[in-house]
Structures are given as structure tokens and as C-alpha cells.
Symmetry: C2
Subunit: 445 residues, 2 copies
């Protein structure tokens, strides 16, 4: 299995359209915008992410010799077209909201301006990349908001949808404010802090729990988090208390215990009491097992003495909203605004910009969706990030993106910070956009 | 971004456990089984898929020089351990249900028998691969059952969770009985039939719909499916009728029209009437747009004259069940059965086999979960597929896997074929398994 995702990683219809554009000599400038039509019912806002991987994809876009051969052999395309694809590059411009920016329906998070074959071909992969990380970042911030100040770790690799989803979920959740990931390539490729110690199988492979704890502690003396729910959680906590002095004599400190099943709040309270009675006040309690933002909120509301959480499946699959209604639509071609009018799926035409207005306390109060040449009060959210196929800035550092996300969360209206969805945040469609839509409808039949 | 997923594509805890096994000299044989603890509420059965990618992964498992360097530089592991990883290979045995096999809770779909470090390390990626394709195949068969005889095409790449999810969703849905995919690498890598013609942007980029239709038809004369919902569906159908003779004069036949929005059943009826009145009886109607098995069933129940369906987002994300409660658990180590007893997550110990019983008509009636050395009546579902790290058979052909899936669906109890979930299919736990569990509980504290 070849998991590289280059120029041929697309839907067939992009290639058949490109053949038709090629045959008709259509290569004028197109403007496409990526936006979300409707929010999932459980989301009051979204967090833009994935731009870095899009820019990397666009910069490196080319068909390999193997891909060209396959396209030629498919019998679907002309020889001249295949020759043309051999020299195919992305030479366009990109405007985008920086990763970590909060955004809402109808607001373009990315705008691509390029000769139509280029802007068209990239649709499938561009959506694929932006959708995944935006979905995950938008899910991850909910745990961040539900458990302020707690260590949150991405545990989701195994049930993420494939390798790339796991890798990019680690990245998106870190941008969103998670403290790290269990996914090794997340550290190898992005420098994300790594967390992980032992599974139940490690305990089960030993003849006794205490032996398993001790073997692990001697092997990983700087990383001692002991999993204590394999047989009986409280009994295991007592074993930890008994073991601690022996390890201490060797200079090894137990850092934490992990709970992974049962009534987590109840176990955490009992385990905290056992640890404290044994003098292990500094040993933290870490918890995992089917967690999401709702369970985090409930556990903390119940006063559970838990210091950190591993959030896995529900994060990496965005289980309550496993997709976004996001699209990438042609808004202008050859200098003329364009507009799809399909029932329930009509779009706003033209090159657009989003302006965000704040109150005196720095809280977001309203966005305005406007045309690029019709500036409004407020902060413009879309910035130029690529010109003529070349990036305008080096890749953003993840710590900068984390800081931006944190600042954006800070400026959210209180009910959105509390994971509410009503009332919806106001996004005003500027009069010029509405007028342009009417004009396009009259002209284009 | 490096999207290859080799030995280091794992959770950190696999590596820390391996260091501890290494330090303790633990390398005896372990038996792990992959199974599903609970079905999602919307699923009455699952379809095993992903084994081929697991075997490929196991056969090629090794740490690259770059990975070893990263592991060494991380400061978490001993030099001796890193040297040991340099020679690390998978030398174990694998038993598995062939892809396309229907299975249920508690039934091991894959069993790995190997020295514990090997069987342990592969956990994260093995689950990741089996989970994704099993989830997608189990979703895809629902559309196959809901729309018998109809052409079904995977349209989900853009909102699949990353590139690998898109690629493997194309494979899993094809195994499940879909007719093809829109995802180009699905054809390049797996030979899956490809479908695709045009998007709305193609229509919008032209000054008129008819011009767009005509340009496309001339460019792709053997692949003329026209998208007719960009402005007004019925008006576009009339344009198709007008265009047909002009194309016919050039030897080009319109194969189909595609509807992508609005009341699909209503539009399909009107469009069918317009096409028929225009003599275009052979032009098929293909439909897409937010489809899943429930909408397919409703459309067909309403008598909508639709000949084929593009199923996208809901398929590729398995939107109503975006994860399975699947695990990979240690069942035996060093010749002794093992059993986790965590609350709500206890497992059945020992090396197990699944026996399936059929009635005289070839319908499945009951499965028995037994120990490998305690054979039962019925057909044994787990087969040896890898020995000492080498495959026992060449990779299965996708058409064989499709045929197996189709036969399995045929043998399902009627209520499961109709997408019902009650009563649950009976999986009997053999007495010897239950006795072994009690025995393990007594021995292991």
C-alpha cells in the first residue's frame, strides 16, 4: 500500500474535468473558497486547522512518472493531456485564516486563486486535509474548555481512521490545547510531547501486579505511571503504596497512577485517599477510558480528584460529529462571479473576506461576510499565505498556533466557551454580497 | 509530512513496555486476539476487513535508521534496547477470519501468536487497520442490502478522515459489494472500477449549462454523465433532451444524468418523464448528495426511478457509528491463559476458535466461541494465514473477497439482512471457556 498522497490523490472527476478544460482551452483564473455550510448540531463554532498540510501539498504538487503512466494506460485521457499533466504545477495564490482561528458557517477559511485546472484538481485533497484537522481541532477545544488547567493527552491512534488521521489528530489536538499525544509519529514529525507507559497486557504478562509495577519502574525510572485497574483498582492502589518505599530507596519516584475503567470519580476518590494515607501526596491520578468533553465536565463537576485525562476514540473520530458539511466552491471564473443555486446548497458569489468585530473587553460580537473590495469595520481574518505557488511565510510553529487558539477561545462569547450553541454567533452577510448574488442569478441561466 | 506507517507508527506505551520486557528478559510466546466488545446500537453484525493490510504491515515490520535515531535521541530508552530494535522483525503466527466474513461480539477476528515484544508492538497499528476497514465494510454492506441490484459508488474521499481512510474506504466498500469508487488511488493501487465525470464548478465555469454539457461530452465521449442540478433540475433535463441528437450525430451517447440536491425522488420522477418523452429511455439516472442506507431504502420504497447512487460522507466516516469498540487483548502468555477483569471490560482467556452452525437452508443459526483445542460442531472461522512471519497464501483477490461477502450476506438471518438488530445473533460461550475464566480468576491475583 502506497500511502503518499500527491497529485493523483483525487476524485476521478477532477481529471475528467481537467481533460475537458484542456480540450476547450479553458485556463482562465478561478476563485474557489473552502467554507462550512452548516454547523453540526453539537458545535457552536469551529477552529480552522490543516492549512500547513495544504500548503505543503500545493507546493509539492506534481504527477509522478508512475501516476502519468497509469493515467495514460487507463484509456480515459488523450496523449496531449497526459503530456500536459507531466508539467502540471500549482502556480496560484492562497488566502487563508491562520490555523487556530475560530470561524463559522459561510465564512471562507481558505480561498484559492489560480488557473481553473489547478484550482479544480486540488479540490478533493484540499477538502480532505482541511476537513480532518478542522473537525479534530473543533472537537479537541471542547475538552480544553471542559477541563481547564488539566493535562489532556491524545490517546486515539488505534481507532483513528487510518494512519494519517491518527498523525494529524495528534497535531490538531495539540494546536487546540492538548498537552501531548501517545502517538509516536506525532513527536517524530511534529515535535509534540509524548505520553505513555503501559497497557493491561503488561500487567497480565506478569505473575503479579506488583512485579509488573516494579519491573516497569526499574526500566523507565523517569516515567512511572502505573495502570491500576487490571484486577481490583483499590487493591492495586494499596500495592502502589507498599511498593513506593522500595522504589524510593532506588531513587525512583512514582509519578502517577492511571484509572481506565469503572466509576472513575468513585475510584479516583478512593485511590486519592489510599495514596494520601500512604504519604503519596505527590502521586497524580490520570484517567482514561471512553472519555469525551461531556464526561470530563461531569467528572470535574463531581469533584473527582483527577489531574489529567487521556482522550482517545471520541477525540480522534470526533464521534458526536464525525464530519463537517464543508465544501470548496467556485465563486468567480474569468473575472465573473459565479453561484451555484442547487436547492439547499446555494452559495455566496465573489471573492470574499471576513471581518470580525470585538467589544471593549476584547470579546467577539459579530462577523461580517463581505467582498474583498468592500472593506468593513473589524479585523480581516483572511491573509495572503501563498503567492504564485510559493509560501509567503515559513511554516508556523505549533506553539504559536497553540497560543493563537488559546487567545481565540478567550475571546469567544461566554455561552460558546461553555459549549452552548444557542444563540448562534451572528455572521452578517454584507449588502454588497447579497446584491452580487441577485445580479449573478439574473445574468446566469 | 511522512505518511508511511511502519514500526514506529505506534503508541509510546508499546515502546516503553518493550523496553521493560527487554530489561526483564520477557520474550516468551504471547497470544493476543482482536475482537469487538460491543456492537454499535445501529449494527446487528460486522464484516471483517483489513487483514491484507495487516499481513503486509507484519511482513515488512522493521525500524528504519531514521526511526532508530529518533528513538535513541529521545533519551527514553537504553542503547542496548535500540540495538535490539534494529534487528526487530515479526516472526509470529497469525490466525484470522478471511476478509468478508460476518462476525459478532467476543469473536476473535484475528489472533496473533508471537514472542511478547512482537505481539505487543503491533497492537496499535493492527487495531488501526482492522478497525477502519471493518467499520467501513460493515457500513457499506448496509447500502448493498438496502439497494439490491443498484450500482453503488464510493464518493467519500473528501470527507474521509485523511488519505489512508479514503484509500481503504474504497477498498472496504468494494469488498462489501459497491460497484466502484471515485477515488483515483483506489483504482491505481487496488484495481477498483472508477467512476466520475463533473462537479458543479464545471457547469459554473461555462457561460451556459448546455455549453458545459457539450464540452464535456466531446471531451469524454465514452463517459457522459451530466450533472443537472446546478440551477434548475428539470430545465436542465430538457436541455439534455435537446442536446442528445447533436451529440448522437457525432456518435456520442449520453449515458446518465446525475441529481445531487433537493427532493431526489420527486426530481427523479420528473426527469425520468422528461427523458422518456424525449426518447432518451436508455439514459440512466444517478443520484448523490448526503445519501446513506436509510435514504436509499426510502428512495427505493418510494419508487424513485434511480439506477445508481453515489454514497460519500456517510459511508467513508461510518457516520452513524464512527468507531467500533474493538480491542486486542492478551489471552495467554508463557503457556498460561490470562484474563483482564477490569469493570465492564473483562475478557475470555485462552486461544479461541469460532464455530458457526447453519440450518438445512444454509442460514446461519448460532456461533460457538470455543477453545482451539475443544472443537465444536460447525464451520471453524479462524484459519492460519501467517506462519513464522511469512504469509501462507498470496494476497486474496478483491473479486474473491466480494464473492465471499456476498455469500455471507446471503446466509444471514432475515432480520439482520433487513438491517434489524433484534434479536441479537446468538454467540454461545462454550463451557470450557467459562471454566477457564474461573480458573484464571482463582490463580491470578
Amino acid at each position: 500500500m502506497n500511502t503518499s498522497a500527491g497529485a493523483s490523490f483525487t476524485d476521478l472527476y477532477q481529471l475528467t474535468m481537467l481533460q475537458a478544460y484542456f480540450d476547450a482551452g479553458m485556463e482562465e483564473t478561478a476563485v474557489f473558497e473552502f467554507f462550512v455550510r452548516n454547523l453540526p448540531p453539537q458545535r457552536g463554532f469551529l477552529v480552522a486547522a490543516g492549512l500547513e498540510q495544504v500548503l505543503e501539498y500545493l507546493e509539492n504538487l506534481r504527477f509522478t512518472a508512475e501516476e502519468l503512466q497509469w493515467i495514460a494506460d487507463s484509456g480515459r485521457f488523450s496523449t496531449e493531456f497526459v503530456d500536459y499533466l507531466a508539467g502540471f504545477r500549482f502556480t496560484g495564490d492562497v488566502h487563508a485564516m491562520p490555523e487556530g482561528t475560530v470561524f463559522f458557517t459561510n465564512e471562507p477559511a481558505v480561498r484559492v486563486t489560480a488557473p481553473i485546472p489547478q484550482a479544480q484538481l486540488v479540490e478533493s485533497r484540499l477538502i480532505n486535509l482541511l476537513h480532518l484537522q478542522t473537525m479534530i481541532a473543533s472537537k479537541a477545544v471542547r475538552s480544553v474548555l471542559a477541563a481547564p488547567g488539566k493535562l489532556l493527552v491524545d490517546f486515539g491512534m488505534r481507532r483513528a481512521h487510518g494512519a494519517e488521521a491518527a498523525l494529524l489528530a495528534a497535531r490538531a489536538s495539540y494546536i487546540a490545547g492538548f498537552g501531548g499525544t501517545a502517538t509516536v509519529p506525532g513527536a517524530m514529525q511534529f515535535g509534540i510531547p509524548l505520553y505513555g507507559t503501559m497497557a493491561h497486557s503488561f500487567i497480565l504478562a506478569h505473575d503479579s501486579e506488583t512485579e509488573a509495577f516494579e519491573n516497569f519502574a526499574r526500566s523507565q525510572p523517569d516515567n512511572v505511571t502505573l495502570l491500576i485497574d487490571t484486577y481490583d483498582t483499590e487493591a492495586a492502589a494499596h500495592k502502589v503504596v507498599e511498593l513506593a518505599p522500595r522504589l524510593n530507596a532506588r531513587g525512583i519516584a512514582i509519578r502517577a497512577v492511571r484509572l481506565d475503567s469503572g466509576d472513575l470519580a468513585g475510584h479516583a476518590r478512593k485511590v486519592r485517599a489510599i495514596l494520601d494515607a500512604g504519604g503519596l501526596h505527590s502521586v497524580r491520578i490520570f484517567s482514561s477510558g471512553n472519555l469525551d468533553e461531556y464526561r470530563l465536565r461531569d467528572l470535574l463537576a463531581a469533584g473527582a480528584p483527577i489531574d489529567g485525562f487521556g482522550v482517545g476514540t471520541h477525540l480522534d473520530t470526533s464521534s458526536d460529529a464525525p464530519f463537517l458539511d464543508c465544501v470548496y466552491k467556485l465563486q468567480e471564473y474569468a473575472g465573473r462571479p459565479r453561484r451555484k443555486r442547487s436547492e439547499g446548497k446555494a452559495t455566496w458569489p465573489g471573492r470574499k473576506q471576513v471581518y470580525r468585530r470585538y467589544d471593549a473587553d476584547g470579546r467577539m460580537v459579530q462577523d461580517v461576510l463581505s467582498l474583498e473590495d468592500d472593506p468593513q469595520d473589524g479585523v480581516a481574518l483572511l491573509e495572503p499565505v501563498m503567492r504564485a505557488g510559493a509560501r509567503l511565510q515559513p511554516p508556523a510553529r505549533l506553539d504559536e498556533l497553540r497560543a493563537r487558539t488559546a487567545a481565540q477561545l478567550q475571546s469567544l462569547p461566554p455561552h460558546l466557551r461553555q459549549l452552548g450553541t444557542e444563540p448562534p454567533y451572528p455572521v452578517v452577510i454584507a449588502p454588497a454580497v447579497q446584491e452580487l448574488a441577485s445580479l449573478v442569478d439574473e445574468q446566469c441561466r
